[in-house]
Amino acid sequence: MSDKKKSLTVFKTDRHEDIAAIIASAIIVAIVLIYMAFVVPSVNLNAQQDGKLTEVFVAEGATVKKGDKLYSLEVVKKKWKDNVMEEKHVIQEFTAKANGKVLKIAGKIGDKVKKDKGLIIQLSHQRGTLP
């Protein structure tokens, strides 16, 4: 039997591999959550979509609560409606995901921003919360 089962996967059996995958994904997620909640002192909020910065609702040094508006972007929203792609220019507001403090405001109103590029706000968050 050992001859048959050897080297089937890096694990003894496929069932071990399944369990290892569950444990590994739990560990990965736990590491990310702990890192974000307790290790990272602040996060850089880049634009989540391509667009134009239309408003910044907070000032440097201000304290924000979860759900508070941070900034707004004018974006092109694409949505399928009745099987037709609709493109609309809308103003979308982005909020704080955790309590914290505004460290820096780098974005200027009227700036054109690209998704995931270009810092808008740097925010510190309360320890133990997920920014």
Partner: protein, 145 residues
Amino acid sequence: MKILLALDDNPRSLAEALRLARERGATLNALFVIDSTWEMFTGHDWLSGCNSRIGFLEYMHTTEEETAAATAIAFKKEVEGIPGELLTVTGDVAEEIRREAEKGYDLLVMSSPFTRGLEMMRDTVARVTKKLPCDIFLVKAEPKK
């Protein structure tokens, strides 16, 4: 003279190897390789969770062992009076044939195309003849019905 016959399910290669061994008074060793590459063949099968794959590989191993046993019986019946032995090993078929051929044989007899295990999907002859230390006699396999 020492002849190595690589066994598959082609009866013509066995018949030719026997004829040569008789004609030349040679020793005839036959090699049956239990194919262990099924695991790699199904390696992309990543969603088969739990024991599907292990059950399958065990089934393939059992099937291969049954074929080995049946081949051994058939070979022993035919080979009477010719010196030599039947060798059964487990591994990559082409690699095992070449490894055995390196042990001082004068001639390797095998069928073309070679159909032992998963080798029917591969060009075994090309893989075996690469750096082969002895002569090779390829026997055309009978077309499958």
